[in-house]
Symmetry: C2
Subunit: 186 residues, 2 copies
C-alpha cells in the first residue's frame, strides 16, 4: 500500500504527560506539558518545548531551575486543570503539596509518583517559541512505585497523551526486552 | 509519605520508540531511538538526542535531512535489531521498503504506520553528545491507521519504551479528553 501524505503536524505517538514546576516571584507554579523528551544519558538532559508567554517559562528563566513531575492516571483531572488555567491569572501554588530539593527553587509535587529536579542549561530559540534544556540533578520516587532500586512503569501508572484525539491514555502491556528481542533477527 | 531520592537518570515514563532514518554516502540507514520529543507546534519541531558516533548522526549532518518513523508493536523485533547493530558495520538499507518524499534524501519506512519527513535545523551541543532539532516538513500515514483526517493511536499501536526495565510496552486505554476533564476542578 502506498503511503499517503497527511497534514503535517506533531505526529509523535505517544507523548508523555508531565507537570513542569517553577517558582515565579517566590510563588510555586505548575503547568502541564507533553512536549518533553530525554536528550542525553550522562549527564541526564531533558528538553521541554514551551511557549514564551507562560508564567512557568518566566519562572524557569528567573531562577534557572525547574522540575518535571510525572502524574499518575489517578491525577488526570488535576493535571488537565493545570493545563487549562494560566499562572498569570490563577494561583496554582496550593494545588499540590510542594517540596524542594537541593536546588532550593524548583518546586516539586509530592502527589506525583516521580519527580525530576532540573538545572536550566540553555534555551534554543526558534520562532515563535523555544526548547528549554535542563540537567536532571536529582530524582525522587516513593518506595511504593519502585521495583528494587528502579521505578516500575506499571506501578507509576503514568498519564500518557495522544495529540491527534487530544486524549489521555494509560500504559498497556509489557511486550519484550529491549536490546534483546531483536537478536538474530537477520 | 516523604519522597525518597533515588539514583539520578533518564526517568521519563513512557518514552516513544522511533526509528530515525538518514542517508550516508548515498545509502539509507536506520537506528532505533527513544530520546525523542516534539518541541513546537507551528512549525512542528522534533528533537532527537543522538550520540555523535552513530552512522545515522553523520548522515543527518551530511544531507541536512532525516526521518522519524513510528514502528507498531508488530515491528518490535526488527525495531530492536535496528538498535542492536550499527550502520558502521551492517548495511541496514535492505531491512525495510524505503521511500522518499519532497526532501529527496530522507529515507522513510513503508512498513511503519506513520513517518515524519524532517529538515535538520540545528544541533545543540552538550558534552559528550547533542540534541538534533528538525522541522517536520511532511507526514505520511496509511489510510488503515487513520480516523478521518487524523492518525488514530489505537490503530497505530505504537511501540513504547520504558527505560528502567529496558522493555517495550503497548498503549493502554483511553481515559479522557485533554483540555476538558479538568474543567471546574477547583
Amino acid at each position: 500500500m502506498p503511503k499517503k501524505e497527511i497534514k503535517s503536524g506533531c505526529h509523535l505517538y505517544p507523548m508523555p504527560v508531565v507537570i513542569v514546576g517553577a517558582n515565579k516571584g517566590g510563588r510555586a507554579n505548575f503547568m502541564t506539558a507533553a512536549f518533553c523528551g530525554m536528550m542525553n544519558i550522562k549527564p541526564p538532559v531533558v528538553a521541554l518545548g514551551l511557549e514564551l508567554h507562560h508564567f512557568t517559562t518566566a519562572g524557569i528563566l528567573e531562577n534557572g531551575t525547574f522540575s518535571v513531575n510525572l502524574p499518575s492516571t489517578a491525577m488526570m483531572k488535576v493535571t488537565d486543570f493545570c493545563g487549562l488555567v494560566s499562572g498569570h491569572k490563577v494561583d496554582k501554588s496550593g494545588l499540590f503539596r510542594v517540596f524542594y530539593g537541593k536546588l532550593d527553587t524548583a518546586p516539586m509535587i509530592e502527589e506525583c509518583p516521580l519527580t525530576m529536579e532540573c538545572r536550566f542549561m540553555q534555551k534554543v530559540d526558534f520562532a515563535p517559541d523555544g526548547a528549554f534544556l535542563g540537567e536532571v540533578t536529582a530524582v525522587y520516587c516513593d518506595d511504593e512505585f519502585m521495583d528494587g532500586k528502579l521505578p516500575d512503569i506499571a506501578k507509576l501508572d503514568p498519564l500518557i497523551f495522544s495529540m491527534s484525539d487530544n486524549s489521555y491514555w494509560s500504559i498497556g502491556k509489557k511486550l519484550g526486552k529491549a536490546w534483546s528481542v531483536g537478536k538474530g533477527y537477520q
